[in-house]
Symmetry: C2
């Protein structure tokens, strides 16, 4: 069975996204990118950009399922609040874009799934994402490879439910 | 000049909204309500409900401007993150619903504007909202009167920009 999976790594300035095709354990890269919003823009315009961009991706690739990183830690309540806005809008875009099921994975679970080590560094994640998907391209942003890593993690865990995999 | 103003008080379980008409200093109640989402629902479904309900209100009343409370304090990063999701989706609904300008007011500013005291209690706010708008109805939820208070505050401060009034 072929399944299109979309991974998202939301942020209030940069939001990464990645789409893969999973046929059993075979994974194929489809597309990825990032939504970057100039700092001078109004906050509500930034949220609108994230929403429109992600809706554009769901319209183009019609992913059946999506995965997003669980946020377990934030420096402080203020940064958590700001990140929450971007993440809320990203979740809404996935839902309104037809992804009925959005799964959430702990950062540790994602790293374990892609690198085999829960404490892996970002560049290791990027390296393994390229290797797994047979890519030569260099990602413009880590947010892009992080989003693909989240999608790969979901492909490897589809059908399983444990304490670090949650349906949002 | 007549202006339709919408106030929103977002929350992940209950989101209040209120619409008023301002003709100079004359304020008229148009409508208000709250979006209540059963706790058992998936988080992404809750966000979708907030978005659809608020878009429904903007479609019906076409408010030119909107106002929302600034969140200056949260118990912890986790509750700030959850509230951020709801607030992000509410802001997006206002923006996508045609409110080009969404203003943010500090809770103190809202209370000052409605009750005359920045440290007023919620029931005082509710009492004054009813008095200002000439209403006899009892609000089902405080979130509803809080949203109307935010709209009243904006009507009283339109055109001014100070440190506690921000364009979002």
């Amino acid at each position: 069975m072929i399944m299109i999976i979309m991974g998202v790594d939301p942020g209030s300035y940069i939001t990464g996204w990645g789409v893969i095709e999973a046929t059993g354990s075979m994974l194929k890269y489809i597309d990825s990118g990032s939504v970057e919003i100039p700092k001078g823009k109004l906050f509500s315009t930034r949220l609108e950009n994230i929403y429109r961009s992600l809706i554009g991706v769901t319209d183009k690739y019609s992913p059946e399922q999506a995965a997003i990183e669980d946020i377990f830690f934030c420096k402080n309540a203020k940064s958590a609040l700001v990140l929450g806005h971007a993440r809320g809008v990203a979740l809404l875009a996935l839902k309104n874009g037809g992804c009925e099921n959005v799964f959430q994975y702990s950062p540790r679970k994602i790293k374990m799934s892609v690198v085999g080590v829960g404490s892996a560094e970002k560049r290791q994640v990027q390296h393994m994402v390229k290797l797994i998907l047979g890519l030569k391209k260099t990602f413009k942003r880590e947010d892009e490879s992080d989003a693909l890593a989240t999608a790969i993690c979901h492909a490897n865990n589809t059908g399983r439910v444990t304490k670090d995999i949650k349906l949002l």
